[in-house]
Amino acid sequence: MANDPSSPVKLNVEFRTIKGHKFTKDGTKQALLNLTQDQGGNYIFEFENFPDRNVCKDFVASAIALSGEAGRTVPEKSAVPIQDEQLSAAEMERRIKLLQEDSDLQKLHKQFVIGGILSEAEFWATRKKLLEQNYSRRPKQRVALKNDMWSTKPLADGQSNRVTFNLTPEIILQIFAEKPAVRQAYLNFVPNKMTEKEFWTKYSRAEYLHSTKNVIAAAAEAAEDEELAVFLKQDDMLVNEARKKIRQVDPTLDMEADEGDDYMHLPIQDHGLPRNDNKDVLDSQYEPYRRSFSQHLNQHAAVVLQGRVIDVELGDTRSVAEALARTKHAELAKDASDVYLDKERLERISRMTEIEDLQAPRDPAVAPLSIKDPRDYFDSQQANAFSTLGDTVSGAKQLKCSVSTREAYCSLKECISEIKFQGLTEPTINSEVAFKVLNGLAQNISSNKYHLGRNPNESILDSLPKITREELLLHWSSIQELLKHFWSSYPITTKYLLTKATKLKDAMSQIYPKLQEIKESVQSDLRHQVSLLVQPMLQALDAAFAHYDADVQNRSARSGERPNGF
């Protein structure tokens, strides 16, 4: 629509609907600003000049940004995350899994959320702990370093004299971790002296030489090529590290560790392992070029067990090297500054190597134990037991024995001998007494039948028919859920809470008559028990209703004074 200043129609578009803006470059024929709506339409504005257009453009940009945010924050401000909740896929999955595992939870969910009484968010708000538990159960495992040592047996091409080595970033990481001298060399040489490819070629050559175990050739090549020498010689940095580690061993914990465990400084004879091949005594000039397999293995094992110390992407070799160097430096610095730790260690050593017999007696470093007399506790328990059994008379009566022990034993023995000589009385028991006893027992048992189940461990719920039991339990859990939400929405401050409370109250008033029905449907002999069970549920509901009614009354009384409600 062309610009017609005389047209009476004014364009009024809310910024909320404008999603984006486009503009022509400065210096082109026309200064245009194109505002696109999310429904697809767009408005094109033509300006007189570019500066004006640019001012408008900036304004429009900020306005769009603002309205975008505002659109998102409005629902949050009402303090209610209703249907706009952005759930991630993981969260949805967790919830579904939880519902699948727990059928009671599923029933509640179906009843309330799908029934429209509670919203999803409210339902799950109180169950965050369950969701978290589920989530954290999944172990977060990281892949550790590979344990296989980089094979020094390269792929040798049978036909030509070429030997190929394969280097992946993973392998490079391991090389840097195991051989600090190589890492240092990398940082020094690349990219100043040689390219990465050259570096690795040299390194591979060194490895090849080592694999042939030809020490003399190694020495010869090292003499020619300075850089190669670095790879062939012993790793000094490693040596220092090992030494430091030994010094840090706490003798109070590991008495055996000593200088002998320093595997880098031992002579190359693999200790204990039989050396079956050449015991050729080489010139001392060749010593540095030997490499011991056991040393290599130890170092490799130490690195693997340490795991991944850095989190850098493996692509860039240089950054990996630097990161490793940084970690090592940090460790060094920490150790150097840990004088306090050293002092503490010395103190502990001196304390633990004390000979106890030669020490002066020391005050016990513990507070004396004060244990109460168990009789206090027991006496009260006894009183309980008696009161339950209805033994009011003799509970307090103490049996008095005014006879000395000897006499007591005498009478006991007399009784025994009496029977021995006289035999059992005939009849054993008087028939009237027996009859009375039998009657009394029968009466006792029959009167108890209606109070309890077959054995005292059984509860009343088990004696109900299954359907009733399930219903009762379901009602109980639903009432609990409803009451929880109901009471948490008081005091009512917003309209949302008011509607929520009303909804909950309606749901509760629906359950109320169901409970009454259950009470009536049960058999007559169980009715008393069931009504005892149902009573607290009804009481809780009544309390909630009373509170609701009182609140409604209050509110209507208050709003009577203020015509515009709250």
Binding site: I371, D379, K397, L399, C401, S402, S411, I416, L424, V433
Partner: protein, 287 residues
Amino acid sequence: MSPPVPSKILTDDVSLLMVLIDTNPHFWSSIKPHFSFSKFLSHVLAFLNSILLLNQLNQVVVLATGINSCGYVFDSSSGSVSQRAESLLPKLEEFAENDESLSERDDDSGNGVGSSLLSGSLSMALCYIQRVFRSGPLHPQPRILCLHGSPDGPGQYVAIMNSIFSAQRSMVPIDSCVIGIQHSAFLQQASYITGGVYLKPQQLDGLFQYLATVFATDLHSRNFLRLPKPVGVDFRASCFCHKNTIDMGFICSVCLSIFCKHQKKCSTCGSTFGQAKTLDPSASQQR
């Protein structure tokens, strides 16, 4: 022990009954006017003989619970022929002699009735039962019957509870027949936990009838019978400060002592408590 029994004969109503008789002389002399030990013995002996008559393979073992010692006084399976219960009398006399010799001179007279060593005899009964369990897959079903009258000794509480739990684990019911004046809290708990019967006869001269009606049935038949049981066992705790029975209270997290009111310091272990959290009234839930 008796020779192994072919499985055809060992039906499921064969029982091994361990009877623990209270021979506390102080108790028996204090109860003398109402009920004498000799009458008691005659009822019990008749009962034991009738148990042995119920089934050819039934076994009865009697332990005497004294105040200084406990001992076996009768084992129906010892000897080649099943013996009558009267043969326990000489052994019982011997036991009483022994028990007397163990007691200290110049004992407390008029000091009230002491307690007998129930924990000891319970343990001995359980050991015998364990031996029977290990004798092979075919054995009678064991149960324990306590004929007890002495008051409960608080010092034996832990030992008795341990025996009770051990009996529960081995699924051995402990029946109790309390002949004393007072109820026994220990035996009440024992019978409740192990699934046995607790009874305090109202008429002691009808003791045989009580024993025959209630305690003679084997474990298998008990599934079809209704036996008397107390109305309920009170397991409620009592607070340590006032000895009142309470349903809800405060518990020290260090030593588990129970108090009815909030306290600053635990009186048993001395640990200090932190501030109690006040409940948010809007979030309180009514039960």
